[in-house]
Symmetry: C2
Subunit: 198 residues, 2 copies
DNA sequence: GGGCTACCATGACGGACGTCATGAAGGAGG
DNA sequence: CCTCCTTCATGACGTCCGTCATGGTAGCCC
């Protein structure tokens, strides 16, 4: 688990963005949180703050994508609805055990920089795309026709992100449970039973 | 249309938060955008930035709630799915005509201040609640059983907010269209035909 | 007219920010 | 040993921030 200082800085940047947003996350805060030397900033990230945040966003997207694949593999008797429930449960667990201080770094980065930094906005766009892809692929594995798999993946990501925002605002995980309960029949009803894989 | 300087400042704060987030929205920017005297800040908002942003959030919540009622009244032959489509269409129209620079101020405020300011977080919570209420009320008018109306309202708000974030990240309104298309059958299928009002 | 309040103007303060300049360890290769 | 390169250390610069102090108008009320 011993990571290089550079990795620690990217990771810390992602965590701090989740809590404070991009604007209120200082580079000095990042190096302090990462217990990294301050002089390494200009060495590893000559592109300045934008580069650091962009790498944090990319890392977060990859992490989310990996997590989808992992949770899908662990699911016994998986269905689209159960996949969505499992994705939401990860957020539910974090909120209940660690509080509502940290949200999704992609949402925070869009909210803070979509209008000002094209490079960051593009990084978030690619991160969302990389997250959406394994979701759609898993849906197809579960029998969802390819024509609908990406649409449903977009719906799942949208509902999940929105529910995360609502949950943080209300300091209550209820929105997560609600979208899961309401979306489950729709998702499970999208499987084409003739094409379902075992 | 001639508003008082105080109103203009609250309104400008809301617009700037939509674009730049809370952290990157300065008080000097607000007074400049509102063409208001800088000295009025400490007079009208002795509570400082928190008070100004809180009022902007509250105003945005009221505005969203009023807009729901207005769009629902204008809808010929309304259904839950059409209500949701109309709500999404307002965002779609703004994105296509004005670009993707401005998002939802409630999302931006949650992302930036949920962990640091209880007063702002509570203001956003109440704003979401005040927005959700007319949505649920309209659903009931359209024949949705009261037991499900609030759940579906939460789903609608979540999916809409998430789709807004995705649309901004991708600079493309497609996510809005996708969630509308996928959610419409679910929403329209929730009406209890025996109780539907004319 | 004197006093009071509401509203606006202006300048300053202390702090935090991102960035840069400069330089020192410390190992690798000649 | 000397040099090169990576990595880290530290201090400074200029800018912007939110807030405050102080003072100036303008109008209303007694």
């Amino acid at each position: 688990m011993t990571r290089t200082p550079r990795e620690r800085m990217v990771l810390s940047a992602a965590q701090l963005v989740r809590i404070h947003g991009v604007g209120a996350t200082g580079m000095r805060d990042v190096v302090a949180h990462a217990e990294a030397p301050r002089g390494s900033l200009q060495h590893y990230f000559p592109g300045g703050k934008d580069q650091l945040i962009a790498e944090a966003v990319t890392w977060a997207g990859d992490y989310a994508a990996r997590r989808v694949a992992r949770v899908a593999a662990k699911l016994p008797d998986p269905t689209p609805g159960k996949l969505f429930a499992a994705m939401a449960a990860q957020w539910r667990d974090e909120f209940t055990t660690s509080g509502f201080d940290a949200g999704c770094p992609l949402v925070a980065t869009v909210a803070d920089t979509a209008a000002t930094s094209d490079s960051l906005r593009e990084a978030v766009g690619k991160a969302f795309e990389g997250w959406q892809r394994p979701v759609a692929a898993t849906l197809e594995q579960l029998g969802v026709p390819p024509a609908r798999s990406t649409s449903l993946a977009v719906l799942m990501l949208s509902a999940l992100e929105g529910a995360i925002v609502l949950a943080r605002a209300h300091q209550d995980v209820a929105p997560l449970d609600t979208v899961v309960a309401e979306l489950r029949p729709l998702l499970d009803g999208a499987v084409d039973r003739r094409r379902r894989r075992a």
